[in-house]
Symmetry: D2
Subunit: 499 residues, 4 copies
């Protein structure tokens, strides 16, 4: 059977398996290990049958012999076209069944990389002429650009054409956040005043305000680049639709721009506007970051964290304010080095993402740190997974930005007063969590490093210590002002119009 599994499974080049054992999954996990697949046992799971609802492809093999081809189709479907999770449900009584002989047609070789399509040449020419006519162009770099590995072509294109760009949360790092053309720090202004947007593998969903007023100019023109035809025209009609692989299309644009010898001038009112706004916003952020009052605020924490993180670290993040403000304060410099709660804001994914990244990093051994930045409420969804990190000695650094609640909490004194008034289920604000909860002790309970952090100094020393330890995970429980968000309510990621 192990030989069989090797033949059947390894062709799809599955290197890792994550799961929760139980009857009869134990046997599958053991057979996977025997076939050279690393098995990571987790602590929590969602109802598996429910996953089918959210899967791009789902199937239940009708016989033992059908499993290899179903697995191949699942693996292939997960990668071809728009990527997505796939679900294969194997009947329990198949797990311990055996195939008489390993016949040839059970050997299904691994699917090749996804096929690549190019945009229509005429549409490329048209897109470039729209860009050339633009007064206030911007490039928006989305998750599709990261997935399409468009970073090299894109850097060359942006630099040659001299265009300002900004990333979506999952597009961060395709180009470095500190690139000279990056105008992320003037995001709202850039979106609002742009007359032409080159949209690279990003959906016009709520994260981009659906591409509509009042956050966009009503006359803005979109050049939409996507590999999924059905995505074209969702919410806004593009003036040019470039259907194809993002990397291939950017390369086509690059060649066209190069041939025409065109670039957007560096001395324009648009560049001045954007740079002035960047400078002004930097000042505001800086002012918040250097505040010395205790407890610290979000900006102070992220300012110092960003200074210490290595450029090649992998940032995982989830939470409300934590993820929101972290997106603007923590730079990414490399593509596909960031994972967050994504389009649907699904809480509880962070620690799982971090574990997966750390397991892969251990195999690839590139010396990259995995840093997991969590809101305190978000951490609660799957906090027990720190045991998994400790069990496998995965040196993840978790930073819990702890404001005693969801969106905001209360300080310990106020909490004690409330507790005296009666039953807290009737009195406590529904957003409140236990003040100054010692999430760091969750980590020490399993043998990792834990730090309670109240000051900038403690933040520095504990983060440096954590980053220097490659044997164990660490958790920094960073206490911040529980009403921190209320003071900065004018700066949330999604609504700040004055930045």
């Amino acid at each position: 059977p192990s030989a069989g599994l090797e033949v059947c499974v390894s062709p799809q080049r599955v290197d890792y398996m994550f799961g929760i054992v139980g009857v009869p999954v134990i046997e599958v996990a053991m057979a996977a290990q025997a076939a050279g697949i690393r098995y990571v046992g987790m602590r929590n799971e969602q109802a598996v049958e429910a996953c089918r609802l959210y899967s791009k492809f789902s199937a239940r093999p009708s016989s033992l012999e059908a499993i290899p081809s179903v697995i191949e189709k699942a693996v292939r479907s997960s990668m071809y076209g728009r990527p997505g999770a796939c679900y294969v449900d194997i009947a329990g009584d198949m797990v311990n069944a055996t195939v008489e002989t390993i016949c040839t047609n059970l050997v299904v070789s691994c699917c090749p990389p996804p096929p690549v399509a190019l945009a229509d040449h005429g549409a490329i020419t048209e897109a470039v002429s729209v860009l050339k006519a633009a007064k206030r162009p911007i490039v928006i770099v989305g998750k599709g650009a990261a997935h399409g590995r468009a970073e090299n072509a894109l850097r060359e294109f942006v630099e040659m054409a001299g265009l300002p760009f900004l990333p979506t949360p999952m597009g961060k790092g395709v180009l470095p956040d500190d690139h000279a053309n990056c105008v992320a720090a003037a995001r709202s202004r850039a979106l609002l005043q742009a007359d032409v947007v080159l949209l690279l593998g990003a959906r016009l969903n709520w994260i981009l305000h659906f591409g509509l007023p009042p956050r966009f100019d009503p006359d803005v023109k979109f050049i939409q680049v996507d590999l999924c035809p059905e995505e074209m025209g969702n919410n806004v009609r593009p003036c040019v639709a470039l259907l194809g692989d993002i990397n291939a299309v950017v390369t086509q644009l690059l060649e066209c721009v190069r041939k025409e010898g065109w670039n957007y001038p560096t001395e324009t009112e648009w560049w001045s506007t954007l740079k002035d706004k960047i400078t002004a916003n930097a000042k505001i952020s800086k002012a918040l970051a250097v505040q010395s009052a205790l407890p610290m605020n979000y900006y102070t924490v992220f300012h110092h964290v960003s200074q210490l993180l290595p450029r090649d670290c992998i940032i995982v993040s989830e939470g409300a304010n934590t993820m929101d403000i972290g997106r603007t304060m923590l730079n990414n410099y490399l593509p596909r080095h960031r994972l967050d709660a994504g389009t649907f804001g699904t809480m509880g994914v962070g620690l799982g993402f971090a574990i997966a990244a750390a397991v892969v990093e251990r195999t690839e051994n590139k010396g990259r740190r995995v840093v997991c930045v969590e809101g305190d409420s978000a951490f609660g969804f799957s906090g027990m997974e720190v045991e998994t990190m400790c069990r496998y000695n995965l040196p993840v650094v978790i930073i819990v930005v702890n404001n005693n609640g969801i969106y905001s909490g209360v300080d310990p004194g106020t909490w004690r007063e409330m507790a005296k008034m009666g039953d807290l289920t009737s009195i406590a604000p529904p957003v409140s969590l236990l003040p100054e909860a010692r999430y760091d002790e969750i980590m020490t309970a399993f043998g990792g490093r834990g730090f309670l952090v109240r000051t900038v100094e403690e933040l520095h020393s504990s983060l440096q210590l954590s980053l220097s330890d490659w044997e164990r995970p660490s958790l920094l429980n960073v206490l911040i002002d529980p009403s921190s968000d209320r003071k900065q309510q004018e700066f949330p990621w999604l609504t700040r119009s004055n930045l």
Copy 2:
């Protein structure tokens, strides 16, 4: 409201609406007519909620204001990427509701034609070199080539490259069935011995025997051309995958072949094999077609029908043997002039297809006839729709090939004997229908022309009369030998290995 509807609906350029009225659909149908949309009232429908299961996109607008954009998305999704039906469920209480003012954002303009993608240049070059190395190449022309309007480029490509081709049932007519390079009459041989298959917009499903032995050579190489990335590699791993619009990709192949000045030689053993087989099969078919015994057999009927049909007629077909044998005997000469029960063999769609085609033809007024070739069982699924044809004076010609049953029936004498033996629900073969049922009288009941046809002469005269009448529908009830299929069991579409 009519003005509103004009604004909201006509932008999507909907010209026809089909339905069954009832409360509150009457109002929708009347408003559609007021907005210039033609309404065709049908006689049967499937449970509408069930359609959702088979739809590419389904939605239920949450407010009156959301309807235009949902309709736009439904129309767009039905055409972009792989085409498919879409389902919009409008709550009953919205039908008679009114919008205060027609605000601008309710005006959703019609979506442009689908964006076009090209295949990767390197993959094109690779595909051509595979073709050049082929000893026994064939081109399979699928539904995707018809949908992608690839006919002009494809004809040039096939003729310049000198390649043999054959169509799938829904790819018939993209190139004329009597084209010199068409090897459909040697289909089984061509599939079995080909060493390279250029697959143009066709799925490797059961209609193409999944691309597997014993119907294909185990070492055959597939060059797969499709606009859907997830389709690539289904059932068989292609040696080259060309992702893109079928017409664009064929044009790329054409340019590459032209540049290289290559063509497949006309004097090869492969061409000799194919042509010999075509000649041999033609002889067999001819022998069956000229049999003068009565009742007639399938081949005789189709042979004579094919001689009388105009080249530009639209052929609709459904049934078991009727559709099967008709596919080989009735030629198509123009692209998108054929509709049949399709991949899933869904019975009951024929008359609806014919009505739709006839309504469009009336508007376009190109003088094309719609001919509907039905098995007797298939006709029963929606036979009442002849009333719809008569009601709207749609000059459809229906040919019911009547063998008294499903797959096969019994003759009237045998039936009478069985009836004497006891309760027919216990005795009659489940495949039997009433012998010599007068389906032609279904047509005369509503004022159309009906013909009972037993001989070649009757077939000729009634079909000529039907084709000359542009005012009324006709139905030819062609009685054939109820055991006809059993004699020819060696020639079904799917299994004939000796053709």
Copy 3:
């Protein structure tokens, strides 16, 4: 295999199977016949997978050995508790598979009749005291009373307690429609003014106006009797809920009333009100029924039909006005002798119901006629099933009440005028069908009797002829005034407040 089927299937006492053959259903149908099950081949079906959505229980046996127990559970679930359709999906590759040995645990005996529950004694006493205090009581007899075979106990209860009653459409016949206590002809008045309603196995859905004002008194009290606990309190809170088998509960009520020696007085204002209303309504109906103008109207048709139908006939009905007015004009005298389009008004079920009833009647041989009263639009949904009736010599009498449309149509002259004005898809009212369509010829096409009926005399003679023929089905195509419903719009079943 046939022996196996006999063992496996017949224990559930399945006597009839209905279906549409195709690969691989042929084998199932033939095996069923071999096992003594009668097989009826139909002409149309709905997408089968969709049925699952509407089924009470659905399953797909995972192995051949599991089939008998799954079938047993499906049969049992369809009968126990609230009855409903069940769906079993047997994988195609199981159909021709064989079981090694018929082991004992494959023999699943037929499930016994459903278990019977009684209502709580205290609740019975309370219900009777509410009835005793009522000034204007009525009993509503629903489908549940028919299904629960409560007719004998109910007749005794109604007569002993002296209560007025009225049936829901599917409750018609549990007690005879001409019973002295039946106040169906004063339905609206009875519902509106009742102060206590004894609801026997009927849901408070739209057919009963949800039990709410303005069709009911806001202070009306409901005594709800149902076998389904979740039904209790739907839409209206009952003052007493009697959970149990309808027959058992009615028997409990009867015993309680008998013991207390109570009955509702015959000389009350309530009885006077109801009887006056019945008399007045009878006059109006009579006036409409005796109109001698041609074309006839609905009331004339139903008046004469009702005079000729035998008391024990089984009435199947579907349509809009046809079903609506027919419910009030065609009496039922026996329980479970009526089938119509039901709660959801599903069109197309009528001919199938009639075929099933006729097949059962042939076996039981009780000399009952099956009469199918159809609107012309409703008939179109499955009109081809007349071939099924002819094929099996099922002597169903179909009466198509033909008003040239859905709700209403136009006369032939008007239609010809419209046709001259241009394309009928733009001009014809969506509710119109072809005027004076010869649905009778659909029947003659397959060898049945067909009649075109324009006058009372023709109606009498054709119906008498049809009822005298036990060998063949008949169809009466009764042409009525196409604007008939517009004249009587004040009398639709659901809204007539003055009756």
Copy 4:
């Protein structure tokens, strides 16, 4: 709005709300508190849309005005008939919408208790005569008896009739586990040899081995008592089916037995057999319980825990061996004082159950302790909920029975050896968790009491301390022999044939 909520929500007498706040749930939680509902904020949730799949009733109100009646139907459906979870999905944009005026029909009063049905009198008589003829009868007390509050009638029946009984896991406590007639300690023997089983509100699912051999006598007769008709006959055909409310039916049985003056003799071979088996099993358990070797085994732990727990404590339990062995070793003495992972063995529910029980206990103030017995793996699914306990000062006592793994783990020394050998994801048994993980520190991290327990003495002292503290939750991390289960593999709940 708060007034409105009070009107709308409190009629259904909802006292507690559990949830995870986020936009826009905050407002709902606050409005609920304002309306007097206690709100408990939790730390983890499952994908909510998925719940719909597992709900008895689900709905999405189509308007603000529809909410009260939908809530009423959800509450009612959850309690009427077989109880089950219900799901109401309220659209986000409704949360902050307001109703113009609180109209009367928005006021939906709380549904009354479920209606009660009785079994048929004849069936009762038949059941009693089957019991009277039994040689080896047993009563199985299921969850339905607990839900139906049948405890008083059942105790009287069992004692008067002198019948041996045993509970299912969720039926424990309906009668006290130490009742003289309880034969739970001879469960396997009782099931195997019984000739008549009176099944009270228990399903014949895997927990009862489907009622089939080899765990039951093939000729055993079942008297099935259930409130759900569709449950009757599932898996085994009962000889008598008593449909009705469990308490009502038991009362009927009691009256019948009393009237007949019958009881099952105390001096029978059956009683001797059962009592001998109980004595023998007690000896084996005792032997295991008193083993003094360290680490402790399951039996030792449960033996001592059971001695200290108060008779009225509420026991919550989940895990594999922990739940299994705990079911046999921890007695319940009161009905509805036990909650466990149930039929589907859903892990992660324990802490939520315990929180709910503790919140209710605080309100009712009956002085009952909530004790939560968890396997270490099970604890990991929702371990972060200890923060919830600490936040609201809920004095739950959690006992984690820690064997370093799922089913079984390895000791710290072995673990260290494995870690030296290479990557643990390749080497460690999939069932292993981190050895001697300090789950107790999860509790202390949030201010509760935590104990690391290795010996009987530590178990006694820490449990006594925990039970004496009514202000804070406690967690006992009880380290047992990680291979403990392997030694006792002959005693698992489901397979022990020798008990």
